[in-house]
């Protein structure tokens, strides 16, 4: 993970963990605060803040002494959201190049045919 030091670090950690969950790199147990802090070279309190935010969003659960783990449906939900975001971005990019929705749909169908 490459950290951009000009943006809040805890937000980037939230994003990174969400990506790891949706890719399936993290299945159940989220790394301990200390392990991730040492991996990324950041203050453990910054990692703890990111975990608290993910807990607030209902993505992970944690229990004192037992660590932090991913909630059951989080992966599917995160994946769905991430796919939506990619599609939105894709459509946005093509529309800004002057393509209509109809043309975009046509293009996507063409991909399907090739495969």
């Amino acid at each position: 993970m490459k950290i951009d030091k000009s943006k809040p670090i805890w937000r980037q950690i939230v994003q990174e963990i969400k990506e790891r969950i949706s890719r399936g790199d993290i299945e159940k147990n989220v790394p301990t605060v200390r392990a991730l802090a040492e991996e990324l070279g950041v203050n453990p309190n910054t990692v703890a803040r990111a975990y608290r935010e993910m807990e607030r969003e209902g993505i992970v659960e944690s229990w004192v002494g037992k660590g932090t783990w991913v909630k059951k449906k989080s992966r599917d939900k995160l994946k769905e959201k991430m796919v939506e975001e990619i599609v939105e971005k894709f459509v946005e990019n093509l529309t800004s190049m002057g393509l209509s929705k109809k043309e975009i749909k046509k293009l996507v169908r063409k991909i399907d045919d090739k495969n």
Binding site: K5, S6, R11, G41
Partner: protein, 229 residues
Amino acid sequence: MIKIKNLVKRYGDVYAINNINLDIEDGSFVGLVGPNGSGKTTLLKLIFGYCRPTLGEIKIDGSSPGIDLKSTTAFYPEYDSTYHWMKAQDLIDWYSGFFSDWNKEKEKNLIGFFNLPTHRYVAHLSKGLRAKLKLVLTLSRDAKTFLLDEPLSGIDPASRANITSGILKAYREGQTFIFSTHIVTDAEMLFERTIFMKEGNVVIDGESDALREKYGKSMDQIFKEDLYG
């Protein structure tokens, strides 16, 4: 909790510290950032009790810096505080005897992490290795407060990450760290809070991530572009 009120330190006609007010919560990891001569070292010395304020006061958990607080506070000086005629391990063993909070396991871990050849004479160690030896002397304690004065000064860029990782490894929840530096980029991710100093004053002080949000810049960019550029 460290409480600093209306602190002034004057040397002759020079104000090294010019009316500073600060509260530092227990368990916070603070970066004290500023160019040479901005008052960082003087502030750390005042907190440790190496020198006394001209005006104002410092209270650590309600008491003034002094002999009692030295048993719970660890200081990393910028100058070479080692004895060159000793072997590194002998120096560590001798030094550890002064502290009831010495943690032998931390000592071993840090020596291993820094790859410190402790069988050698201190005189035969490079400047970088001597800095690491000084860090072993400072960080092997289970102190409550750690005052690190320029631990990156004189360290080549390639070794700085090893130093900051070692400090991060030694840091325990609940301990207060104040880390002074004019080399910001290699250390800023350790700082929960960053205090910028200029000419004896605190000019910017905030939670590092909140400052990143506010300025859209890294602590290093604020240091170079906004304050001293």
